[in-house]
Symmetry: C2
Subunit: 686 residues, 2 copies
Amino acid sequence: MTDLDTLSVNTIRGLCMDAVQKANSGHPGTPMGMAPVAYTLWQRFLRFDPADPIWPNRDRFVLSEGHASALLWSLLYLTGVRTVDPEYEVLGRPAVTLDDLKSFRQLDSRCPGHPEYRWTSGVETTTGPLGQGVATSVGMAIAGRWLAARFNRPDFPLFDFDVYALAGDGCMMEGVASEAASLAGHLRLSNLCWIYDSNRVTIEGHTDITFTEDVAARFLAYGWNVTTVADANDLDLISRAFHTFRAEAARPTLVLVHSHIGYGSPVEDSPKAHGAPFGPEGVRATKRVLGIPPDADFHVPDGVPDWFARGIGARGAELRTRWEKMFDAYRGAYPDFADELERIQRRELPDGWETALPTFPADPKGLATRDSSGQVLNAVAKAVPWILGGSADLTPSTKTRLTFGGAGDFQPGAWSGRNLHFGVREHAAAAVTNGMALTKLRPYWSGFLIFSDYAKAAIRLSALMEIPTVHIFTHDSIGVGEDGPTHQPVEQLAGLRATPGLLVFRPADANEVVETWRVVAALRREPAALVLSRQPLPTLDRDRLAAAGGVAWGAYVLADADADADRGEPEVILLATGSEVALALAAHEELTAGGIASRVVSMPCWELFDRQPREYRDQVLPPAVTRRVAVEEGSTFGWDRYVGPDGAIVGMHTFGASAPLKQLLTKFGFTPERVAQVARELVAPG
Amino acid sequence: MTDLDTLSVNTIRGLCMDAVQKANSGHPGTPMGMAPVAYTLWQRFLRFDPADPIWPNRDRFVLSEGHASALLWSLLYLTGVRTVDPEYEVLGRPAVTLDDLKSFRQLDSRCPGHPEYRWTSGVETTTGPLGQGVATSVGMAIAGRWLAARFNRPDFPLFDFDVYALAGDGCMMEGVASEAASLAGHLRLSNLCWIYDSNRVTIEGHTDITFTEDVAARFLAYGWNVTTVADANDLDLISRAFHTFRAEAARPTLVLVHSHIGYGSPVEDSPKAHGAPFGPEGVRATKRVLGIPPDADFHVPDGVPDWFARGIGARGAELRTRWEKMFDAYRGAYPDFADELERIQRRELPDGWETALPTFPADPKGLATRDSSGQVLNAVAKAVPWILGGSADLTPSTKTRLTFGGAGDFQPGAWSGRNLHFGVREHAAAAVTNGMALTKLRPYWSGFLIFSDYAKAAIRLSALMEIPTVHIFTHDSIGVGEDGPTHQPVEQLAGLRATPGLLVFRPADANEVVETWRVVAALRREPAALVLSRQPLPTLDRDRLAAAGGVAWGAYVLADADADADRGEPEVILLATGSEVALALAAHEELTAGGIASRVVSMPCWELFDRQPREYRDQVLPPAVTRRVAVEEGSTFGWDRYVGPDGAIVGMHTFGASAPLKQLLTKFGFTPERVAQVARELVAPG
């Protein structure tokens, strides 16, 4: 440990303390305790070039204990990480300036309260909700293995990056971390290293009050390698642990670091160090302990940035330029793979991928949208080799298996497989999929819609990060049938639709599924949720009805009353999604037979519809036609927006029940007769 | 193992096979494999009286792998469990008849696809979503310890029940189970026994494909006792394991049973045994293997019900009658405690508990609703000794600690404590709280509103089960401030409000908090979510404004325009909840000053408002007044219901940002000026 090591570590600590103090808000405890570990990792190990923070083969650093963001901001500042905009091109200016650090947690600062992907370059994933970062890191490690399997060639080791995640006691307690750790152990992801900041202090007190398990033993049980650092201030011990990680070829590694929250401060080892500034006096006292000039705020000794430049900076630049040279040669030897890789980095798809999309002939018997989606997914994934995914142990039901030749299973040693087995771990499945999307693959995961509840926190993060994770949910209503209310979603659609930035699709038939995938596969900055039926749905006759391409606008007129010479507008509009569109069509026919002019609007994606110009929206839902009936086998919550006070909603007001589907449809009123009756009552009350 | 043992086990298997076959739907695999274990537990160990399935000191049996419901239905049928209605009184008729078994999974059958609490007597908790049952069982074990600590006296061991939960590989993979197991290990709940049906087969195949951790080692790491049963068909080994559990005084016990899914059937040990009937031929073949007459459906040999009656029936009846005698004597010795216990069983509160409710004087500075709720909670909990709870490591922030004398911490050996430390385990916290509510305590748990996402699946179950779990969520909006978008809820309110049967309260000030608790504490069959602010809110001057008692009706007119002789109705209505009510009042004052007659409606609980008679609703929101502005620092999703097409919503359309609250309010438009401006534009469109 040199003087410059010590000086650097304490410079980080000083910056963190000062940032929190100036903001009068934030979490100084972890940065003080873990600065030496983060410093050692970045300065001595991380293969990361601050000048190009999106170099594809960089090691990833995930700050899972995201409240310690000041630690990351200090590192980004001191190492001079450059800005990337938006995630495709490196710009010259620094990602974090000293002014940014000084405006920590202020509006528009590049140093917000928690790391936010896209907002600050150098942030590999948004963190803060505990457990998410470590779970997401597993997806990055999976992506690393897959990229290596697909692209590496003799003499061209394009991908061999490692993934590090820094986690606290909180992360270790979260179920999503347990799920992800179990999966990582099974997959033998030896490119994954979690660093456990074991300071034994959480918000309510010492971990003795609730967290007394043997974490090391637990991780050994998962099949991990575990190594311990007894003193978080001993850089040599820390280095030894990282060497142990690098030498481990068959298992992920947990580096268990005994650390001291708020190290050096008057509140060291106390919960008080966690989430509040030390106060001006406390900061000064701490600085005196650490040998930092007590009255110099945001003090950066002259030699420190240069020391980082000579460490991580020089190492990263050399590795990156060497890699770029290698890639140039690779481009010559393997032009197709090089092209693929460049498309992946730019989030582009292969030319002509859309020609792979099937069309489905009209068929009154039809097929479940889970089935048609499975077929379309297979066609698209065959055309786009970096689409891969799996299910939370429901593949035979969600129909998401890639079955074409060579797709195979992703397993230890079989890293090119494209079918993952996430196990009964929905939350980790979503978070892991996010990690793969952050590594620019196009991943999906699947489960029953009801289990979106288990994964909601990770689904939300995909929306917040603006990454194109694909969440596939089948068994989307009381259509589940006999499994009953525990498995029948009711409020899940509303919860997903209320999530900003998430595109929720509920296609009505096989051809709407095709059009859904046409939109979804091409997404670059938006996650999507596909909501699919268990039960067969007729494939609509598009010769008689509007084409399914309307999916792209979110909602479209599927069937209309014969134009009335006088008026041109229907008397009543039936709005429906998914499995209820065919029901609305049947009601429409009944109404037509009874002389009532009705229109059927299919609304597969509310979010896209809301983005259309008012002119289009008014064309689909003419404001003058206020008699509207919405039909959806889900909560009525949210439908008022389209139905208005003069309309009616045929939806769910309670939980479902266990019975064959037909009985449930009658019990809950999802029959053409009932829908037509509701419409008739609107048209002619009484 | 006697002939009657064998006959009983195979009778259960035959009934399960037949039920699934007749329904042509269901999960026969686990019942076939685990019938001997369930049989042994019920017949030889479970202290449960079929004639009184709500006897307070009964052992609890939780079928966490709820898809195996046929196993439970067969046991309820064969042991002759009686009906309870609704959960307070034992009725004579059987809970499950042979006809019910024959209508397994049909509409209105007492034998639905998954066990549903309240619907079938003998079901201790609704299960199906994996992991929930085991997590809930931890709450039952906690309640058992607490009841014993509060009510047991020398010579009066009123409470010493055990809690058994049967779990499969799926449950073991779920994060919520990991969280709950870690907590149970910390709490040293030696009254808790999880039986792990380790058949190594899940829907996608052998567990080798994704679940290769050492589960026994993992549970040892949590601090559990682990014992193994190498052969699920060996009743003596099984018995020995349960004796081991009973002898263990310091740790929960995991009984790891090596079992065979679909035992005896042609699809034994195959994923095909999991979720589909064996087919008529398969059923017959299996019956031949097991010595069941192959062509006798729903075959119940004469001696079997009687054998159960002489086993669990006789044992349970004796234990229960002995307990009732003991309780009669206890009533004489400790009349107050006996009264308490009887109230608990009937879900009644102590007489006069409401007198404990404080009132808060008007105060423009005011206090956060998390603070006022903490004060009210303390007052109520002091008056109701069986209110207890805790937080997912956020007590200092959620203000839910019970601080009065004697409240103390609930810890191993300190079982009478009323403050639980759930750790950073939101999902388990909610599920454990459900388990405590199922044991008729009045429990709560708390966290930040954003983390309701982590616990959603358990929150939903509280609504589905109709149990009065109290979910307390603070930090309910961008009011979170500097922590930024990862911690600022947006869509969470919509998701909770869309959940059937859940009462969601967002009180506007301290006195609305009081009225919220007045409603919530008295709930018997409904869960509630309290949504509270981090930031201080003025305590409204109720001399000038309407009384807070309007909370009971869900929404009420808080402030109104001076009655206009001509019209009597306002020009515009401002609707708001929680922290935005004061904002609406300020806008109202600005509008009044500008000569516009506006009304402010506080809407703390939409669900209660929707239950009011139309007359009241139209009084609060006169249909003729279509110019309405809703203000809420959350997703606008759902507000259209009250605002209508002529109204406007000032809400969140994106995620939040990291900054001090004041800056965020301006950025996102939550200022009196903006709200007044929106209202003015409705009244006189510019």
